[in-house]
């Protein structure tokens, strides 16, 4: 019987600075067998462990077709992630995973993809976007709508520029507290919906960011004719075990660690926005 709690050491191959307090860690499992067996889907997460401190759930942002390297973008906000921020290439973290349900990238094949992201929470969707662009010909139009509070919060600026140059692709940015350098929309991300043409029955929407953004954004998408069953949202709750046993990550009847973190909107509609859920 496999023990789902066993942690595998993984070396930090590279540490890439993304923004203040945010780094992407490129990890490689130390054990060769574990490395060869490790397979994941875009949008799944690992429990990342730091010796003597503990574990945190972090989504895998690298390409599932290159599973020998595992990229995790980690913001130093809590006890474990702050201690991880002190580490350098050559240091060792632990990995337990992969867990959860990722983005429906298979289902999205042949369709237009609308990606709506907000704030600093966009790391989980970056992996999906890169996945789409590596297989660009398999998808219809791609529209990326990204909102930040201040221009300072815009991570992956170069990548947004790169994506914008791809064929049949639109990238729209919004900031509600802009400075003089901001050349894009002023306001919140949901206002960007007005600026894009959406073919509702041919599109699939992926959303990642604060819950408030989804609560306000989804009804607009639905008014544009996109069915709730083709809107996917990435949700966040406290996760400790990753395997649906510890009870912390519940949202209504779901355990987000095993039923999510990516959920089809119509399944969670009645829970989003309820206080204390």
């Amino acid at each position: 019987m496999t023990n789902p709690y066993v942690i595998h050491p993984a070396t930090i191959i590279e540490k890439v600075w993304e923004a203040e307090d945010i780094n992407t860690y490129r990890l490689q499992l130390v054990d060769e067998r574990a490395r060869q067996q490790f397979r994941f889907k875009a949008g799944q997460f690992n429990m990342v462990y730091l010796f003597g401190v503990g574990e945190v759930a972090i989504s895998i942002v690298s390409d599932p077709d290159e599973p020998e390297f595992l990229n995790h973008t980690i913001r130093a906000v809590g006890r474990v992630t702050k201690a991880i921020a002190e580490l350098q290439p050559g240091d060792v973290l632990g990995i337990r995973g992969p867990f959860g349900q990722g983005w429906p990238l298979e289902e999205a094949r042949g369709r237009n993809v609308v990606i709506v992201t907000g704030g600093l929470g966009c790391a989980p969707v970056v992996g999906a976007i890169e996945y789409l662009f590596k297989r660009r010909e398999q998808y219809g139009s791609i529209k990326i709508l990204h909102g930040v509070k201040t221009p300072h919060d815009l991570l992956y600026r170069e990548r947004f520029d790169q994506w914008r140059r791809a064929p049949d692709t639109e990238v729209l940015l919004a900031s509600d507290q802009p400075d003089k350098t901001w050349n894009y929309h002023i306001g919140v991300v949901t206002e960007l919906f007005e600026e894009v043409a959406i073919d509702p029955m041919k599109s699939i929407a992926l959303m990642c960011g604060p819950e408030i953004m989804m609560r306000l954004g989804v009804p607009i998408l639905m008014r544009r004719g996109i069915p709730a069953s083709t809107i996917y949202v990435s949700l966040e709750r406290h996760m400790e075990c990753g395997i649906g046993l510890c009870g912390h990550c519940q949202m209504g009847p779901y355990f987000l660690c095993k039923d999510g973190p990516v959920m089809r909107y119509d399944r969670v509609a009645q829970w989003l926005g309820r206080t204390g859920v």
Binding site: M1, N3, P4, Y5, V6, I7, P9, T11, V30, D31, F51, G52, V53, G54, E55, R75, V77, G78, T81, D91, V92, L93, G94, E236, R237, H238, E240, C241, I243, G244, L245, C246, G247, H248, Q250, G252, P253, F255, K258, Q270, R274, T275, G276, V277
Partner: protein, 382 residues
């Protein structure tokens, strides 16, 4: 007419020691209810005299008292605060020992030794709780090897209830008072006799070793009558007919605010609940940071950390936490596991320090104006 001896027999209560001796001879450590500190707790039983002979428990919301009746009744105490949960889902379970090594670190699982434990005195509600925990820890997407190891060695001797506490409502949850499945043996105490029935191969095997006098239809009928009377005498009930949706719909009910004024968020209800499974992991390194222990602890949806996500708490208030608990227990559990998370044992009512009664709260929450439809006694007479 005699009943087939391989599945049923009669043991005079005075000879109960024979059962214990047979279990010991088969290598079981016997665990039963022991009177301690004004209640009963599970502990090792060597002799029948260790069992709470003549004692009975009186339970009310927020209150538990034992009294000695002077009788020879062995199983007069219905239950204490502990269900069977601790035997399989341990309150403190070391999961991993992690040591620094040339690869960074090496993890060694610290699986518990599977121990042959025979538990005598489990109630129907306890068995129902165990079945639910089996479903969660053994038959979900992942199988928990620590739980599995502890579960493997258990031999369960249940006792059918012939006396209901004021806090019992297993009849309405359809989990008791008769133990239906999940036991190896089940006893019904009828005056100075114990009717024994087997519920598993291991139970039948043990029964045949005991060479008991065969059961009589008369005694079986009397046992059945007493169990039925026990069901009938329950004053509390929980109406789950409209669950889960009715409780989902009650999310904004004013009763939650009123409840939050009484609830202590102390976690007692979740600790004594036979089905609550929330846990957390404690990481304990040594001072030199060469070794670290990864230990699972019972946790509760009433703690501050439970709803914590980086920098905020999705359930900061007592109201949020109580609503989470009750809604999960009675409603979303059904969606998750196909069964209610409540087995009707009433422990959360008794062991709530301020005596919050789930049956009363649910009934109030499913009423439009938020007032309880009445006290349990009134409900019974209406």
């Amino acid at each position: 007419m005699a009943i087939a001896s391989e599945t049923c027999g009669i043991l005079p209560s005075a000879h109960l020691q024979r059962l214990l001796d047979t279990l010991s001879a088969k290598g079981y450590r016997i665990v039963g209810p022991i009177v301690r500190d004004g209640s009963v707790v599970w502990d090792t039983v060597r002799s029948v005299s260790d069992l709470p002979i003549g004692w009975r428990d009186q339970q009310e919301p927020g209150r538990y008292r034992l009294e000695q009746t002077g009788s020879q009744e062995v199983f007069g105490v219905v239950h204490g605060a502990q269900s069977l949960k601790q035997f399989v889902f341990a309150p403190r379970e070391p999961l991993l020992q992690i040591e620094r090594s040339k690869d960074g670190f090496a993890t060694r699982p610290t699986l518990p030794q599977s121990e042959k434990v025979a538990i005598i005195g489990a109630r129907a509600c306890d068995l129902a709780g165990l079945t639910i925990q089996d479903r969660i820890f053994l038959n979900d997407a992942y199988r928990d090897p620590y739980y599995a190891s502890r579960r493997e060695g258990l031999f369960v001797i249940a006792v059918n209830c012939t006396r209901a506490l004021s806090t019992c409502f297993c009849a309405s949850m359809e989990t008791g008072p008769r133990a239906k499945h999940g036991f190896d043996l089940v006893l019904t105490e009828v005056d100075d006799s114990l009717l024994i029935e087997a519920g598993s191969e291991a139970g039948r095997d043990l029964l045949s070793n005991l060479c008991l006098s065969t059961g009589s239809e008369q005694l079986s009928a009397e046992a059945a009558r007493r169990i039925e009377a026990c069901a009938q005498s329950q004053v509390r009930r929980l109406d789950h007919s409209r669950l889960p949706q009715a409780l989902y719909d009650a999310h904004e009910h004013p009763r939650w605010d009123e409840l939050a004024g009484r609830c202590l968020a102390c976690t007692n209800c979740t600790m004594v609940c036979p089905t609550c499974f929330c846990h957390t992991v404690e990481e304990t390194p040594d001072l030199s940071h060469q070794q670290s222990t990864h230990t699972r602890l019972w946790d509760s949806c009433f703690t501050q950390e439970h709803g914590y996500i980086h920098g905020k708490n999705v359930r900061p208030t007592i109201k949020d936490r109580y609503r989470m608990w009750l809604t999960h227990k009675l409603a979303s559990w059904i969606d998750q596991f196909g069964t209610s998370g409540c087995v009707g044992c009433g422990r959360c009512i008794t062991w709530c320090p301020v005596g919050i009664d789930v049956t009363e709260e649910l009934s109030a929450l499913l009423t439009q104006d938020g007032r309880s439809s009445g006290t349990p006694q009134q409900m019974e007479s209406s």
